[in-house]
């Protein structure tokens, strides 16, 4: 069992396909304070490369990620 870090906001994007998870993530991040962590839960099979690209371009931090039964979880910290 893995320990899961504390989150300030959870964004459940299960069942949503590209581009909705990224669009919703972008909107949700605008409501966060610097340093806060958002947990994104997604089932889009393209989630991992999309999140990698998003954090690279926006400069925010991917703190932790997991995949279980085709459900991806990403812990993202607002750093910019």
């Amino acid at each position: 069992m893995t320990t899961e870090m504390a989150v300030d906001q959870t964004l459940d994007c299960k069942g949503m396909l590209c581009p909705l998870p990224i669009v919703k993530l972008s909107k949700a991040f605008k409501t966060l304070e610097q340093g806060q962590v958002l947990l994104l839960i997604a089932t889009d099979p393209g989630s991992r490369p999309d999140i990698e690209a998003w954090k690279k371009r926006t400069g925010n931090e991917l703190v932790q990620q997991s995949e279980e039964d085709k459900v991806f979880k990403f812990w993202l910290r607002k750093t910019v």
Binding site: C18, P19, I22, V23, L25, S26, K27, D50, A53, W54, R57, T58
Partner: protein, 123 residues
């Protein structure tokens, strides 16, 4: 800030080609990329008032979504929409026939934007 300019040439006869440039542009905007879509050739047909509500972007199981959903999402995210006059003339349209928030530009302005953009992607 990085920038991408999409060029959209697909019109109402190819609904399967209508949404992709628009949702890629939305994704780019969500990545904090400055992004515009230049609708030319048949692209301006998609921007005529009332058209995108009825144009269904097909899915293999037959349950597609109306194009307006993609357009509204892109505009909400700050994607800029552009058309030029000759491509409106091609379809007997004027700017008054189009949905709001579409900017009218000319060929020189398009070329200038293309030279300034980091990438130009054509559909």
């Amino acid at each position: 800030m990085s920038s991408i300019l999409y060029v959209h040439t697909g019109g109402v006869k190819t609904p399967e080609r209508s949404a992709t440039p628009i949702y890629l542009a939305s994704t780019a905007a969500a990545m904090d990329v400055e992004v515009g879509i230049y609708f030319t050739v048949n692209g301006p047909q998609l921007l005529e008032k009332g058209v995108a509500e009825k144009l269904i972007v097909p899915k293999h199981d037959g349950e597609g979504a109306p194009l307006i959903r993609f357009i509204t999402q892109a505009l909400d995210l700050g994607v800029e929409f552009y058309v030029c006059q000759p491509s409106l003339d091609l379809h007997g349209l004027t700017q008054d026939d189009l949905i709001d928030n579409v900017k009218m530009i000319g060929g020189a302005a398009f070329n200038d934007m293309a030279l300034d953009a980091d990438q130009v992607i054509c559909f």
